[in-house]
C-alpha cells in the first residue's frame, strides 16, 4: 500500500489517487470511493471533485493526458484481457514512460485488491476519515515526482513548448558524447539551479551541494530527455525533485507532525498600513535584497518554493507547475499565499509610518 499508492513515484500522488478512485467507482466499492474522496480532500489536492472523477472522469476538466491515463486504468480494471500493445502506445503518445505505466498498472491492481477485500469483509464507511490520512500525510503533499516525468507535455502553455529551446543543440552534442558541451550547460544554468535550490532548501551551503547532485542526475538521465519540454524546464524539475527529496530526508529526521498541521486555509492579511512609494528611499538596494532574502527563507517550504520559481526564477505558471508536479490552481493559490505572507513580513519595514530598522 505504502510503496504503490502513498509514495510519490513516477506518477504523482494525485494521479495515483485518481486511478484508485476510477477503479473503485467502476467496481462499485462505496467504501473505497468514500475513503479516497476524503483522502483526496485531506491532501489538499486541487482539481475536480473526487466524486466526479470516480463516477465519470471524462466529464472533468483534467488534462487530456490524465484522462488518457484514467481511460487506460479503467480498461485494465474492466477488461484486463483486452489490454494490448496499442494501449501502451496511446499512453506513450501522451508523454507517459514505462515507469509511469508500470505504476498505473500496480495502482489498478491495488485498487482491485482493496475493493475486493472491502466487499469480502462487508465494510461500510463508518470511520472518521481524518484519522486515515493524518498519519500518512506527507508534508509536501503531492508535489514531488521523479525524473522520468520530463515528458509530461506542456503544449498548452504558449511559449513553453518545443521549437525554441536555446539549449537543444548543446544537449545534442552532450548526447553524442561531448563532455565539454555539458560544461557549457552547467555554466548556463548553474545560477538558476542554485537559486531554485536555495529557495527550496532555505539554506545556501546545502544548496551548493544540491546543485552538484542535480546536475549529476541530469547528466545520468539525459538519455531520457527527449526535448518535449524545454531543457531548462526539465533541469529545474530535476533540481526541484533533488531539493524536495533532501527536504523530505531532513523532515524524516525531525518531526513530521508539526508541518502537516500547518493551516492551509484562513490566511488573512493583517498588515494594512500603506507602504512607501519607493522602498529604496529608506533602504539601500542591498538592504532591500537582504531583508527580502531573510524573510523569504522563513516562509514554509511549499510557499517559498513556488515564490522562488515564479517570482525570482520567473518561470511561467505552467512551467513552475510542471516543475513541481502541481496543478495550475494549486500553484496559483500557493503563489498568492506566499506573496501575501512575504508582504506581511516586509510591511513593518516598508510601511510609511515605519521607522527605519535593520535586517
Amino acid at each position: 500500500m505504502d510503496a504503490i499508492l502513498i509514495q510519490e513515484g513516477a506518477l504523482t500522488r494525485q494521479q495515483k489517487e485518481y486511478i484508485f478512485l476510477v477503479c473503485s467507482g467502476a467496481n462499485l466499492s462505496t467504501y473505497c470511493v468514500t475513503a479516497h474522496c476524503e483522502i483526496v480532500r485531506m491532501l489538499g489536492i486541487q482539481g475536480p471533485e473526487p466524486e466526479q472523477v470516480a463516477v465519470n472522469h471524462a466529464s472533468t476538466a483534467l488534462p487530456e493526458s490524465d484522462k488518457a491515463l484514467l481511460d487506460f486504468a479503467l480498461k485494465l480494471n474492466n477488461h484486463p484481457a483486452q489490454v494490448a500493445r496499442q494501449d501502451m502506445e496511446a499512453l506513450r503518445a501522451q508523454g507517459f514512460g514505462d515507469p509511469q505505466i508500470l505504476e498505473a498498472v500496480l495502482v489498478v491492481g491495488l485498487a482491485k485488491f482493496a475493493n475486493f477485500v472491502a466487499f469480502g469483509l462487508g465494510t461500510a464507511p463508518d470511520f472518521d476519515p481524518s484519522k486515515v490520512v493524518l498519519s500518512q500525510r506527507s508534508f509536501l503533499g503531492q508535489e514531488a515526482n521523479l525524473l522520468a516525468r520530463e515528458d509530461r507535455p506542456t503544449d498548452s502553455a504558449p511559449g513553453s513548448g518545443t521549437g525554441e529551446d536555446a539549449d537543444a543543440e548543446v544537449v545534442a552534442r552532450v548526447k553524442a558524447g561531448d563532455l565539454n558541451a555539458f560544461e557549457e550547460l552547467v555554466r548556463r544554468h548553474s545560477r538558476r539551479i542554485y537559486r531554485t535550490l536555495v529557495g527550496i532548501l532555505g539554506e545556501r551551503e546545502e544548496a551548493k551541494d544540491a546543485v552538484q547532485d542535480a546536475f549529476l542526475k541530469a547528466f545520468q538521465h539525459l538519455g531520457e530527455f527527449q526535448g518535449r519540454a524545454k531543457f531548462s524546464t526539465w533541469l529545474v524539475r530535476i533540481a526541484s525533485n533533488t531539493g524536495i527529496e533532501r527536504l523530505r530526508e531532513r523532515k524524516r529526521l525531525e518531526s513530521l507532525e508539526e508541518i502537516s498541521l500547518e493551516p492551509e486555509a484562513g490566511f488573512r492579511p493583517a498588515q494594512t498600513q500603506a507602504w512607501n512609494d519607493d522602498p529604496e528611499r529608506v533602504y539601500s538596494r542591498a538592504e532591500v535584497r537582504k531583508l527580502m532574502e531573510k524573510e523569504l527563507m522563513q516562509l514554509p517550504a511549499p510557499y517559498r518554493t513556488v515564490v522562488v520559481l515564479r517570482d525570482i526564477e520567473q518561470l511561467s505558471t505552467e512551467d513552475a507547475a510542471a516543475a513541481l508536479g502541481l496543478g495550475i490552481p494549486a500553484l496559483k493559490s500557493r503563489l498568492l499565499r506566499g506573496r501575501l505572507m512575504l508582504r506581511e513580513a516586509l510591511s513593518p519595514y516598508f510601511a510609511r509610518s515605519a521607522k527605519r530598522r535593520t535586517a
Partner: protein
C-alpha cells in the same frame, strides 16, 4: 459587486495581469472604494517587484566556478571509469 474576499481571491491573477477585462473592471470598481484592498494590492505589487528585481540569491563568481569544476570533475571521473 464584489467584496474583499473575492478581490483577495483574484489578487494573484490581477497582479500578474491575468484576468479577463470584465473581471478586471469589477476588481477595479472594488479597488476604487476599498482602502484596505488598495493597500494590500499596492504592497503585494511592490513585494513582487522587490522579488523580481532584487537579484536575490545570486551565486558569487568563485562559488559558481567551484561548483562547475566539482560537477565536471565527477562526470569526467565517472566517464573514464566507465569506459
Amino acid at each position: 459587486m464584489i467584496g474583499c474576499d473575492q478581490f483577495l481571491a483574484e489578487l494573484g491573477n490581477y497582479v500578474d495581469g491575468q484576468v479577463e477585462a470584465e473581471i478586471r473592471r469589477r476588481l477595479e470598481v472594488h479597488l476604487a472604494q476599498c482602502r484596505t484592498c488598495q493597500v494590500i494590492y499596492d504592497s503585494t505589487r511592490k513585494t513582487v517587484t522587490i522579488l523580481t528585481e532584487s537579484g536575490s540569491f545570486d551565486l558569487e563568481e568563485p562559488a559558481a566556478e567551484s561548483i562547475v569544476a566539482g560537477i565536471m570533475e565527477k562526470i569526467r571521473a565517472a566517464d573514464s571509469g566507465a569506459g
